[in-house]
Amino acid sequence: MVKINGESLDAAGRTIAAYLAEAGYDVAKVAVERNGEIVPRAEYEEMTFCDGDTAEIVSFVGGG
């Protein structure tokens, strides 16, 4: 299992690009952090989620 945005999901083995597309994220508008480290956009195609990973997928929202 992979903990993504606080939720345990069955995403192990999938590349970040594949997961983002499947889940319906707008890839151009998100940033991904995996196990506390930023994943550069250029690595989405190669980097694979592993069992036990923790990831954050974020975007901009209104704020002061």
């Binding site: 998100v30 704020g63 002061g64």
Partner: protein, 256 residues
Amino acid sequence: MKNDTLIIGGHEFHSRFILGSGKYSLSLIEAAVRDAGAEIITLAVRRANTGEQENILDFIPENVTLLPNTSGARNAGEAVRIARLARELGCGSFVKIEIMRDTKYLLPDNEETIRATEILAKEGFVVMPYMYPDLNAARDLVNAGAASVMPLAAPIGSNRGLATKEFIQILIDEIDLPVIVDAGIGKPSQACEAMEMGAAAIMANTALATAENLPLMASAFGQAIEAGRKAYLAGTGRVLTRGASASDPLTGFLRD
């Protein structure tokens, strides 16, 4: 006034109004930016939703500089992570550091803010720290590489105005970076007063978001900030502690 530019981290701005984008409808952002004459707008970073239709970036005019904040961070480490994520979102390297441990008054933690500033400035961020107006902390922020300091006027979202006026004045007098008054400013008159004191810029969000007519209030703030800036540059007149001073010629009239 044309040459009166605000420089933050080597970037030049002509407007001295930094607009927050929280607590109001995305469709109003464009009007607010336009009517405020704002060149900088703050944003927050949050967990993304899937299948989201509306994105705030689609509502912000292109020439506007984005200033992501680190709201939600409870310590320097979290603020650094949020700042890096914000930069990865691809909208420049400005960041407003906001670190709060206290959820009742939402007061910034100056010590953690100094730590985060040091780390992020070394990584090339243009760091604009939100702070409690304390001269020692402000000096530490300067040494840590901050591009400005952003002292609070009153607790966030309170619209209570310049509660920390004396201490903001000390920062204006002693700190060589732009002092941007952030949080608590509720009315254009308060923004104007802070500018007359020598603040470099004003940041506001709730004052607009809770107004009945947001774009109109944005415009009122824009004008008040400009008026205050002009008054500061003009040098405000002296105050008499006692008595009066005639403003008409003192020659006799209608009497011998």
